[in-house]
């Protein structure tokens, strides 16, 4: 019995070590990817409206993920008049994508996901079928319309 138990645990450990994932590198890559996304939002999508929007990227949130542990990552807050929209990274280990950022406004929430090719998409629907659209200045505007008053 104890030998079988040892073998059972050994198989589990072998399986876990075979994933070959460098979790530290994955975490750092994720933090950098989120910074680049925020650069794109700040410097490209919002370039033409700089005087009517305040962008705050100073807040760091703590995220706890299995295998990776706790780490700090930037949030982005847009303030327009009396409204605020927060872009909050949820995690890099998510199903079917290479990371997820939640977007919260007064009206509702939206979800951005990082694709395997490092591009970003906006999730339009999960059910009955998954619908993603590439994040562009146009879809960014549509997303803000859906989450803001």
């Amino acid at each position: 019995m104890s030998n079988q138990l040892k073998e059972f645990f050994r198989e589990k450990q072998t399986r876990a070590s075979q994933t070959g994932i460098d979790w530290v590198a994955k975490r750092d890559d994720w933090i950098e990817a989120v910074e680049k996304l925020f650069d794109t939002i700040d410097e490209e999508y919002l370039a033409a409206v700089k005087d009517s929007v305040q962008v705050d990227r100073t807040h760091l949130k703590s995220v706890q993920e299995p295998q990776i542990g706790e780490y700090k990552i930037a949030e982005l807050a847009l303030t327009v008049g009396d409204e605020q929209v927060v872009f909050s990274p949820k995690g890099v280990n998510v199903i079917g994508a290479a990371g997820r950022v939640d977007v919260r406004g007064d009206r509702g929430e939206a979800t951005l996901v990082r694709n395997a090719d490092r591009s970003w998409s906006l999730v339009l629907a999960r059910t009955p079928r998954l619908q993603l659209v590439p994040l562009t200045d146009e879809t960014f505007l549509e997303m803000l319309r859906s989450v803001m008053r």
Partner: protein, 188 residues
């Protein structure tokens, strides 16, 4: 007088406790398999996974599957208790049909003359069984089942109030108390 016409009201579709339990075990296992497949997809980065899981984190998946298991447990407890109720009510009708002469059947027959099939489970069927129970074990099993009727009512009426159940229930102990009751009463 035999009341054979009563046979026509019986559907014979009532569920057996063991069948419900086997169904529950299979559904619970399927949820477990789905959870394992989903967690494997999370770790491997696989994109070939049902869209309902897309973008979920480990914590969100754990919460999702805990909810599925919890709901399965609630449904299972309800149908176990409903099956036990069905067995008790079928037994009531069969005793009337067969015009049995034991003490319980005689009391059932008196109720039938006045109320036909509109008989109360708690205050009549179980109460008569309790009055005619020979041992403290049977009385205790009846008492446990009457307590579980509060759970059954709460589940059956949509769980909209805060229940005062007096104890913790799960599918295992609800199966055991239903099984014990019906065996003690000679209905299983």
């Amino acid at each position: 007088m035999a009341r054979l016409h009563l046979k026509s009201v019986l559907s014979e579709d009532e569920q057996d406790l063991n069948e419900i339990w086997e169904w529950y075990v299979l559904q619970n296992m399927l949820i477990g398999d789905e959870a394992v497949n989903t967690l494997d997809a999370l770790l491997s980065g696989s994109a070939s996974i049902a869209s309902r899981y897309f973008g979920k984190t480990r914590d969100e998946l754990d919460e999702f599957f805990a909810y599925q298991r919890s709901e399965l447990g609630q449904v299972t407890m309800l149908i176990l208790l409903a099956a036990a109720e069905a067995a008790l009510r079928v037994d009531y009708i069969v005793r009337i049909i067969e015009n049995k002469k034991d003490a319980v059947s005689k009391q059932f027959s008196e109720i039938y003359k006045l109320q036909k099939l509109e008989v109360g489970l708690d205050d009549q069927i179980l109460e008569i069984w309790k009055e005619n129970s020979a041992t403290p074990e049977i009385k205790a099993a009846i008492g446990e089942s009457r307590g579980a009727l509060r759970l059954r009512n709460w589940l059956a009426h949509g769980r909209y109030w805060k229940p005062k159940l007096g104890r913790e229930y799960d599918p295992q102990n609800v199966f055991e108390l239903c099984d014990e009751l019906l065996k003690f009463l000679g209905i299983r």
